[in-house]
């Protein structure tokens, strides 16, 4: 059965290792924070200028001066720090942030990502996404395998304007976990009960499968 958004987040949380500084994009990536293993130490960075983000505040404790990049009120944990935007992107551009998790409209089999603009529609902007994908060593995309019209979002080549080139390392969708390799999307795991045929059908880009029988179901 295909995963829901929370399950995608839960699966991605397994990629978050002890000692990682992590930047979470808006949408599914934000949910990842809820599933990080409790016995590891992780700090969340938000590009508007905070490291060591905690949960949302209790009612009445919201502070207009303490928000995340989604403009949501947040709290900070002990050891947190605030800083300016240039310093924030120094952390990102300088590869001090270990893992970036973000959503996408399309990913190409060479790792190109498109997630900021649909020609003809209102364009809201790239925010920090272009800096993040141009710099991060490790980028995981969290998204549905297909769009609302049923078309694959894992493509030979992106059709939408790019956010970054050859940068995505891993993709976790409602159907599968895939790695971007030189040969295309390498299938690593299937969602429980989802067949390889289903994944093949939903993937327009080149799908690399090492021995059909061995693709394991996801573990959480």
């Amino acid at each position: 059965m295909a995963l829901d958004k929370n399950q995608i987040a839960q699966r991605i949380a397994r990629e978050v290792k002890d000692g990682y500084y992590v930047n979470l994009g808006i949408g599914i990536p934000t949910l990842v924070a809820n599933y990080v293993q409790e016995n590891i130490n992780v700090e969340f960075q938000s590009e508007n200028g905070v490291l060591g983000m905690g949960p949302f505040p209790f009612e009445g404790e919201e502070d207009a001066d303490v928000i995340n990049a989604g403009k949501q009120t947040i709290t900070t944990l002990p050891g947190a720090s605030f800083f300016d935007s240039a310093t924030s992107f120094s952390m990102i551009r300088g590869k001090h942030v270990d893992l970036t998790i973000l959503g996408a409209m399309e990913v190409a089999q060479n790792g190109d990502i498109a997630n900021w603009k649909i020609p003809g529609k209102m364009v809201k902007g790239m925010g920090g996404a272009m800096d993040l994908v141009a710099s991060a060593e490790n980028i995981i995309v969290a998204m549905m395998h297909t769009n609302r019209a049923g078309a694959s979002k894992l493509l030979k080549k992106c059709s939408l304007p790019l956010t970054g080139v050859a940068c995505v390392k891993k993709i976790v969708t409602n159907l599968a976990v895939l790695e971007v390799t030189e040969k295309g999307f390498k299938l690593l795991e299937r969602a429980p009960g989802v067949s390889i045929e289903e994944i093949k059908a939903a993937t327009e880009g080149s799908l690399e499968i090492d021995g059909d029988i061995d693709i394991p179901e996801m573990k959480f």
């Binding site: 905070v50 919201e62 300016d84 935007s85 992107f89 925010g127």
Partner: protein, 233 residues
């Protein structure tokens, strides 16, 4: 000590004219120069180019200038929370240049620090790099981005003193420090103007040399865009 205090927002904005280029601090509605924006509305200057990460919401922040059609061009990284903005952009009344957030921050910092341009990897291979010089260093591609040139920078800080020294609070810091000294005239408004000598010299975020005018804002709404909370217990 060199004194930067001016007598309120009117004096702070003296010299503002239509068609100028302005930098405005803030991320979303957090850390925006509320009093300077209100005065820009009152002065009714127009044809403005605004360098600001976001464009406010319909009835607050830069949205107030957009409502009155005072803005000719926005240079921002994300402008998604503003219906009037969308209308003007789609109708072609408003010119919009979208640039990566880190590039925005660093083009401000370059202006502040006397660098003519920077090489950043952000936007390489995308339409942001179209028409721009690109270059390889150590096998990675970078885009040449130029320092901004602005007439005024409007800064919102938490505390400040007559010497122009500033301290910011929480994530209301954001672009504000990077825009200080990045325009010909930097105008800082603060929630609290404290006596000189009160701020620890070791804990000043922006030394007064980067600020030309400072005043205590009359009031701050500090509106919250996304009030997210959790339940107790």
């Amino acid at each position: 000590m060199i004194t930067k205090t001016v007598n309120g927002v009117q004096q702070a904005l003296e010299g503002i004219e239509s068609n100028m280029t302005l930098m405005l601090g803030g991320f979303g509605l957090s850390g925006i120069p509320e009093n300077a924006i209100a005065q820009l509305v009152r002065l009714n200057v127009n044809g403005l180019t605004c360098i600001s990460n976001n464009a406010g919401v319909d009835d607050f922040g830069l949205g107030l200038l957009l409502q009155k059609k005072q803005v000719k061009k926005m240079i921002s990284s994300y402008v998604g929370e503003n219906a009037e903005f969308e209308r003007q952009m789609l109708s072609g009344e408003l010119d919009v240049e979208l640039i990566p957030q880190g590039t925005l921050a660093e083009r401000c910092r370059a202006a502040q620090a006397g660098f003519p341009a920077i090489y950043t990897p952000a936007g390489y291979g995308t339409e942001v790099a179209q028409g721009k010089e690109t270059r390889e260093f150590d096998g990675k591609m970078y885009v040449l981005e130029h320092a901004f040139k602005a007439d005024f920078a409007f800064i919102k800080a938490w505390k400040g003193d007559a010497a122009g020294n500033l301290i910011f609070k929480g994530t209301a810091r954001n672009f504000n420090p990077n825009m200080c000294g990045a325009a010909k005239i930097t105008v800082a408004e603060v929630e609290e103007l404290v006596p000189v000598g009160t701020l620890d010299p070791n804990q000043i975020h922006i030394p007064g040399i980067f600020v030309q005018r400072i005043f205590q804002g009359e009031q701050y709404e500090k509106r919250i865009e996304q009030r997210t909370i959790r339940q107790k217990g």
